[in-house]
Amino acid sequence: MASGVKPRVKVPKKAAAGDVITIKTLISHKMESGQRKDKEGNVIPRSIINRFTCDFNGENVVDITLEPAISTNPFFEFEAKVPEAGEFQFTWYDDDGSVYEATKSIAIG
């Protein structure tokens, strides 16, 4: 699944110091549950993103454990504090060991 996985994140470009901002993330991933069978009746092995984290300037915002019951193309929405200008770091961890990353800067003003 390491190919064709594309993260999308939505973060405001700027905020006032101390603002609360809404962050949305979406990543293209099949999230194969391990519950399905193929046409020959063989179980299709589980292949999911099992963890997602968001940090701001090295401090954690959210750390989410995903199970196979998370929908295809996992979506998350949450709120973060912005005490200062800096960078949001987003990381998705795949069952196959792949790690997908995205960063977004936010300015104060």
Partner: protein, 281 residues
């Protein structure tokens, strides 16, 4: 008339599951673009319908909301993938789509007019056929399979830049014979269940079909991201699914019959906003 009656009845029978009338809601895309989800039926339908309605109005609250924001819309993942491939040169000529067409925004309005008569080829072409013509004739690249992932993603991307513009396919002139064929197919009963498109989508929209809402079967929202299979789906594939469910042998995606049917069904939605990629069940 039919709609007015249906709405009046539904207000009397709000708890009844027999009615699944379209909701009274407006679609504003990304809080800026007003979308036309219901409008007066085009002239050629005036004897049949008063109003044409997007399938968006027949969906649940959460599904409607998912389409109203590009970030919430998972179909846009695939639009972004196609935007990337728009820039990538392929084939013997070393050209990408952007070599001729520049930025994809320059294609705004194109989707709204397809399927469309091509004078040079002497045929009605869907957008996917035109894309493939570019690939084989101008780029020296292989044609994409009809409704296959690369083709449907690109069609969705081209649709995305036309969102908010009214569907406006031409049905007269040289396109008329294909349109007539499409109309005939629309009203022809198929399969062991002997159902035509019209039986469900013209005679019975606003009713429940098992636990689902029957829409007018408009295609202004195609390609659609379906919750059912979590990917983009083409209109020919959707036609195939419907015809199959009447227990008939179906035409193939890309066939002359489905091209004609696409033209006819698109023309039933003339005036509705282009919505693709939309979200449906």
């Amino acid at each position: 008339m039919k709609y007015v009656t249906g709405a009046a009845l539904a207000s009397l029978l709000t708890t009844s599951l027999a009615f699944a009338d379209p909701v009274d809601d407006t679609l504003i895309l990304n809080e800026e673009t007003d979308m036309i989800t219901r409008t007066a039926a085009p002239a050629h339908l005036s004897d049949t319908l008063d109003e044409v309605m997007s399938g968006w109005l027949f969906r649940g609250t959460e599904t409607r909301a998912m389409q109203a924001d590009d970030f919430d819309n998972p179909g846009m993942i695939f639009v972004e993938q196609a935007q990337d491939s728009w820039m990538i040169a392929e084939g013997t000529e070393g050209k990408s789509c952007s070599s001729c067409h520049n930025d994809m925004d320059s294609m705004a309005g194109v989707k709204a007019t397809y399927p469309k008569w091509n004078e040079e080829a002497g045929e009605v072409r869907t957008l996917q056929m035109q894309m493939n013509n570019c690939r084989t004739e101008r780029m020296g690249a292989e044609a994409w399979g009809y409704d296959k992932t690369p083709a449907i993603n690109m069609e969705a991307a081209l649709s995305a830049v036309s969102r908010g513009l009214p569907v406006n396919v031409a049905i007269d002139g040289p396109a008329q014979s294909a349109w007539e064929l499409g109309k005939e197919l629309y009203y022809t009963r198929t399969g062991q269940l002997e159902l035509s498109c019209a039986n469900c989508h013209e005679d019975s929209y606003g009713m429940m079909i098992r636990a689902d809402h029957l829409s007018q079967g408009q295609i202004n929202g195609f390609p659609v991201y379906r919750l059912k299979n979590t990917k983009l789906n083409g209109v020919h594939s959707r036609f195939k699914g419907c015809v199959r469910d009447t227990r008939a042998e179906t035409y193939k995606p890309g066939s002359a019959e489905f091209v004609a049917l696409e033209l006819y069904v698109a023309s039933r939605g003339n005036g509705l906003s282009v919505e693709g990629p939309s979200i449906r069940n």
